[in-house]
Amino acid sequence: MSVEAREARQPWILLSPALTAVALLLFVPLLFIVVYSFWLRTATGADQVGFFLDNWREALSDAFYRDILLYTLKIGVITTVVCALMGYPAAYFIARSKGNKAILLLLLMLPFWISYIIRTMSWINILGVSGALNSTLLAIGLIDEPIQMLYNQATVVLGLVHFLLPFMVLNVYVSLEGIDASLEDAACSLGATRWNSFVEVTLPLSLPGLAAGGLLCFVLGCGTYITPLVLGGPTDAMFANLVYEAIITQLDWPLGSALSLMLLAVLGALVLIYNKYLGMAQLMKGLG
């Protein structure tokens, strides 16, 4: 075998364990889900094997699923915008701080050491009727009766922002770190104010990081079911909750499979659009 042929094979040999894992743990299960989506659930809860389009017809034509999907996308957009507005200044501060970056980054990563469910549930102790916030407001006499703050759309967004903000900050931070600080100085030396140099130089150069953080926040936010379950009211369910209900409560694995593929297709399309215009490289930097 020639040296060229051996060199051409080497990356594939090195990649083969990872590719095998991806094939076995991602593509094969996904294939099962695709097959399942064409089966039917019988009245007893058993599956009827075959090729039926009923689940897909229901998932695609029923306004109920469309509305919940749109609501999910709406919550995803709101969460992403809030994360961007809150995350950018924090990332900028870390990127421009001198000397204590490592501590600030460690603080940013700290929430990941606690379970996502525990972090979500902690809001009950903060915003509940007898929670920390109401107790403080009552103690200082600002209110006479506790305010009902939990179990609505706002608390769902709050819980999601709490969960996703570090992803946004990290992506923007990586992007800001890659910008030569002397460019801002150069803009100022040419007569731009600090604000102008930020708007004209720093912000445009950091947009890929912002977009990568936005994509991560949006995709993860749209796929969650814990936050609406714990912090949402009776009508605050998101699309992943429908998948959970179909599979766990109704034992309708075929319909649940069709619904999960539908969500995957919508979010996958957004990732493809992102990749077409901005590329995945920035996303990898943020995750790395």
């Binding site: 659930r41 009245a43 058993a46 939990l150 009508t235």
Partner: protein
């Protein structure tokens, strides 16, 4: 079907003239050969039973099981009990559906309708009751409903019972008001934002039936029930999904009224919270059982069930979880605490409780669970 039943059927067919002598002897010979060939391996398989898997609700119930049943059982038999937990019957059924036969063995299931669901999915087994002598102490009515589902045999032993009644904060709702309004308190405009409810379709439909003055086991106007469920949804602050969440919402006064599980409400009362509990007429009664899944090592499971049904174990578990045991108070002295538990019936007849008719509820399960999924989300 066991080998004895197969032989008896063959013999009957032979005696009735449906099978000639040659075929009969040939089949018996083949059966004997098969038995002779497989027995040495089968014996090995039986001897290899080294563990039994049990899945339950966790918490104090599992602790009591570990202390009073699993430990002594392992000591007596050398078989280890692998103790798992689940969040609900639906979730567990999904896990079992995705498993291989024999992977899961015994489950602490809720409701006769769950028993019927498992049976209809071909997941039930057939217990040899001779191996479970403590079954004699169980209230007969509790076993009979299971027998009816599985054609006379049992795939489980009844273990405890309770009710899903109305729980209310006495600071804000009086006992008199509860008596007057019953289940309709859950759709009282005055309490908007202070009402809770379990996100379980059966409970929601049951309460809707009571709110529209219908028999929960024979609903004539389901549209009226869905309207009541919608009204409740619009007035409710939160659908709770676990006993811990139910207790937290009531204890923290996020809600003033909800339906609740009798044992959990009793636990709140024990903690000193001024929470009242009332079973409205036709309130939701239920029983839990220890279900043995198909493909399990039967003798090992039967022996474990016998340990779990031992009065000392049953009483300890009942005192831990605050639900009366399935033991007949006419046959077993249940001590001091159990007679004070909500839903306890000293007569052992359970005539005061209304249980869900499994045939009726499972017949409507597919339609109603799906409809509730939509109604719950604002439709």
């Amino acid at each position: 079907m066991d080998n004895t039943t197969r032989y008896e059927r063959l013999r009957e067919r032979y005696l009735n003239g449906d099978l000639d002598r040659r075929s009969f002897l040939g089949l018996i010979g083949a059966a004997g050969l098969a038995y002779g060939v497989q027995t040495p391996f089968n014996k090995g398989a039986l001897a290899a039973v080294s563990q039994v898997r049990f899945d339950g609700w966790g918490g104090v119930v599992s602790e009591a099981f570990r202390e009073y049943a699993f430990g002594p059982y392992t000591k007596a038999t050398g078989i280890e009990v692998v103790d798992g937990t689940f969040g609900g019957g639906d979730e567990y059924l999904s896990r079992v559906k995705a498993s291989q036969p024999g992977e899961y063995n015994i489950a602490h299931l809720s409701g006769v309708f769950d028993y019927a669901r498992y049976h209809n999915l071909g997941l039930s087994s057939e217990l040899n009751e001779d191996n479970i002598p403590n079954l004699q102490y169980v209230i007969p009515k509790l076993s009979d409903v299971f027998r009816k589902v599985s054609g006379g045999s049992l795939s489980c032993v009844p273990y405890d019972y309770g009710t899903t009644g109305l729980a209310y904060n006495r600071k804000h709702i009086s006992d008199e008001e509860m008596k007057e309004k019953g289940a309709s308190i859950l759709i009282d405009e005055k309490l908007k934002g202070k009402i809770g409810g379990w996100s379980d379709w059966r409970t929601r439909v049951w309460m809707g039936a009571l709110q529209t003055n219908q028999d929960p086991n024979d609903i004539k106007d389901i549209d009226a029930v869905w309207d009541a469920v919608r009204t409740h949804r619009d007035l409710a602050l939160k659908y709770w999904t676990s006993g811990a969440e139910l207790m937290s919402l009531l204890a923290e006064e996020e809600i003033y009224v909800t339906e609740g599980w009798s044992g959990r409400i009793y636990a709140l009362q024990e903690q000193g919270h001024d929470i009242g509990y009332m079973d409205p007429p036709n309130g939701f009664g239920w029983q839990e059982c220890l279900f043995v899944l198909k493909g399990s090592p039967m003798e090992a499971c039967e022996e474990l069930l016998n340990f779990m049904l031992d009065p000392a174990t049953s009483i300890a578990v009942a005192e831990g979880q605050n639900y009366p045991p399935a033991l007949d108070p006419q046959k077993v002295d249940l001590g001091k605490k159990i007679p004070t538990l909500p839903a306890f019936d000293p007569t052992g007849t359970l005539s005061g409780l209304t249980f869900a008719d499994p045939g009726y509820w499972n017949g409507n399960e597919q339609d109603w669970s799906k409809t509730f999924g939509r109604v719950q989300k604002g439709y």
